[in-house]
């Protein structure tokens, strides 16, 4: 029996094989969304836990395990974003901001982060992947289970919300 069929039938060895094949990829995808190694590791395990629980719904003949795992990983990361506030500290090894004064630059960066973390989870997800990670819309849509058109709409709305928020925080962003 094929690996996927064995997995769908509940074979733990097959699940372990799939876990080992895909854990790196699932982790890499998740860490780009949540931006924290420890949380990404936990979410990778959570993703495979969800995969294992719903194995009976996976159709080995028609299914693409990689795409399915990506979808579940994205949902797990989205759930995390929904329930987390700004505990996740972002790395500070960043490109320089426009102004020369380091204090002002730091302040501006903080405000940008603040505005970004206040985005609703589903907008933060697409904004992270599309604007920061520059992931193609097609990949984002597939992973989030939405159309490319909806990805574009969410990016557009996220940008609009960010602009509004940044302006209210005193960070100058050009009007549309």
């Amino acid at each position: 029996m094929e690996l996927l069929e064995r997995f769908a039938a509940g074979d733990l060895d097959a699940f372990e094989a799939l876990f080992r094949q895909h854990q790196k990829e699932v982790y890499a995808w998740t860490v780009r969304i949540v931006r924290d190694r420890g949380i990404a590791e936990d979410l990778t395990v959570e993703t495979f836990w969800r995969i294992y629980k719903s194995r009976a719904r996976f159709d080995p003949a028609a299914g693409n395990f990689r795409a399915w795992a990506h979808r579940i990983a994205t949902n797990a990361a989205l759930d995390h974003l929904r329930h987390s506030r700004r505990e996740t500290e972002l790395p500070d090894d960043l490109a320089s901001a426009g102004t020369a004064d380091p204090a002002v630059r730091r302040e501006t960066r903080e405000r940008i982060k603040q505005a970004f973390f206040q985005l609703p989870a589903k907008y933060r997800l697409v904004a992270t992947l599309a604007l920061i990670e520059e992931e193609p819309y097609k990949n984002i849509g597939e992973a989030a289970g939405i159309s490319i058109a909806l990805v574009k709409v969410r990016v557009f709305r996220a940008v609009r919300m960010l602009r509004k928020k940044l302006n209210s925080l005193g960070v100058e962003v050009n009007a549309k």
């Binding site: 733990l12 372990e16 876990f19 080992r20 854990q23 790196k24 982790y27 890499a28 860490v31 780009r32 931006r35 190694r37 590791e41 990778t44 395990v45 495979f48 836990w49 294992y52 629980k53 972002l90 790395p91 090894d93 960043l94 490109a95 320089s96 901001a97 426009g98 630059r105 501006t108 960066r109 903080e110 940008i112 982060k113 970004f116 904004a127 599309a130 604007l131 920061i132 990670e133 520059e134 574009k152 990016v155 557009f156 940008v159 960010l162 602009r163 940044l166 960070v171 962003v173 050009n174 009007a175 549309k176």
Partner: protein
């Protein structure tokens, strides 16, 4: 300004504050952690919704109190 230009401008601004993830390499095997979770929380056996139990109880009651309905039920099955 077009959407594309809006996005470009926002990308530039965001990247001043939030760098793209640099290290996305998994540093350790997560299987032991996965195995612990599987042991601690075994996947639930298929759960039966409460209303299914209610329906089963009602049906059992009908069959017990009105045994004459059994042939009718069998006929319709």
């Amino acid at each position: 300004m077009s959407n594309e230009e809006n996005n470009k401008e926002m990308k530039k601004l965001l990247k001043q504050a939030i760098a793209p993830a640099q290290e996305t390499e998994l540093r350790r095997d997560l299987w032991p952690q996965m195995l612990r979770k599987l042991v601690e929380q075994p996947a639930p056996v298929v759960s039966v919704p409460w209303f299914d139990w209610v329906l089963a109880a009602i049906l059992s009651g009908v069959l017990v109190f009105f045994p004459g309905s059994i042939p009718a039920l069998l006929y319709h099955l």
